[in-house]
Amino acid sequence: MSTPAVKTAAGYLAGLLFGLGLAISGMTDPARVLGFLDIAGAWDPTLMFVLGAAVGTTFVGYRLVFARGTPLFSAKFQLPTKQELDAKLLGGAALFGVGWGLSGYCPGPAIASIGGLTLPLLALLAAMVLGWFIAQRIAR
């Protein structure tokens, strides 16, 4: 039942739902995101509705899913086990926040926007991938 093809199809469906959600909510528009972050300007509440609905849906859905005991096509749930609030977590989150605030792009919307690729977006994606490699080096 849990053949590689089934897992791959399940992964595609998850990505598709995510991409549809980002597109319909307008999170593929950096102006919407920056409008939310600009609390001193013409504030755009859209992102608050997106995050609220996503967290609410996930909160309820996770409980139903965890109650089953195991995933459908995998042996077990793979959840983060770390507990400590260390400098890597908070420093990383702060750096990410600055990049997010400068561009209005977090990784999901940036990648989901590839269908409307522009040179600045390509630059952001390339630099983001480089950043992932650098983080891996630092963390090692």
Binding site: A31, F49, G56, T57, T58, Y62, P80, G99, G116, F133
Partner: protein, 153 residues
């Protein structure tokens, strides 16, 4: 307030939540973009890459599908017919921002989806701390860029 835009936000948010629930229920994984895609690119995990590639393909095809369907399903500010908005700056700014987003989500083990959606839904203390931190940093950054340097533009 723009109620149509907010409704789009709610519907899209539910879809993102359903994606996270499905990925956990089907494969037992957190729907964190930086973890899924970043892990795919930097680690090429053997036997654990195919679903990530498929997720990436799905993520990109979602907005393309919305464009193909048409009918104003997108929610770009001020352009009802558009699905994908324009970047807010040029190449140099995006290079800097991308580097910070990559290093930051790499070190911080997650982004808006992994910490902000999945982590908050799990009531995980690390994700709450991370989400609070990147939200404050992003709000402060926009404030400085728009209201200190940019003079309220």
């Amino acid at each position: 307030m723009d109620w149509i835009a907010s409704l789009h936000g709610l519907v899209g948010g539910v879809l993102i939540g359903l994606s996270a629930v499905w990925l956990m229920g089907a494969l037992g994984r957190i729907a964190g973009i930086s973890g899924i895609i970043g892990g795919l690119i930097t680690q090429r995990p053997k036997g654990d890459s195919a679903w990530r590639v498929a997720f990436l393909a799905g993520l990109i095809s979602g907005p393309l599908l919305v464009m193909a369907v048409g009918g104003g399903l997108g929610n770009v500010a001020g352009v009802p017919s558009a699905v994908i908005g324009e970047p807010a700056g040029g190449v140099p700014l995006m290079l800097l921002a991308g580097l910070l987003v990559g290093i930051g989500t790499g070190l911080g083990s997650g982004c808006t989806s992994g910490h902000g959606v999945c982590g908050l839904a799990r009531l995980a203390p690390r994700s709450m701390a991370a989400t609070g931190t990147f939200l404050v940093a992003a709000i402060a950054t926009v404030y400085v860029v728009r209201h200190v340097i940019g003079g309220g533009v």
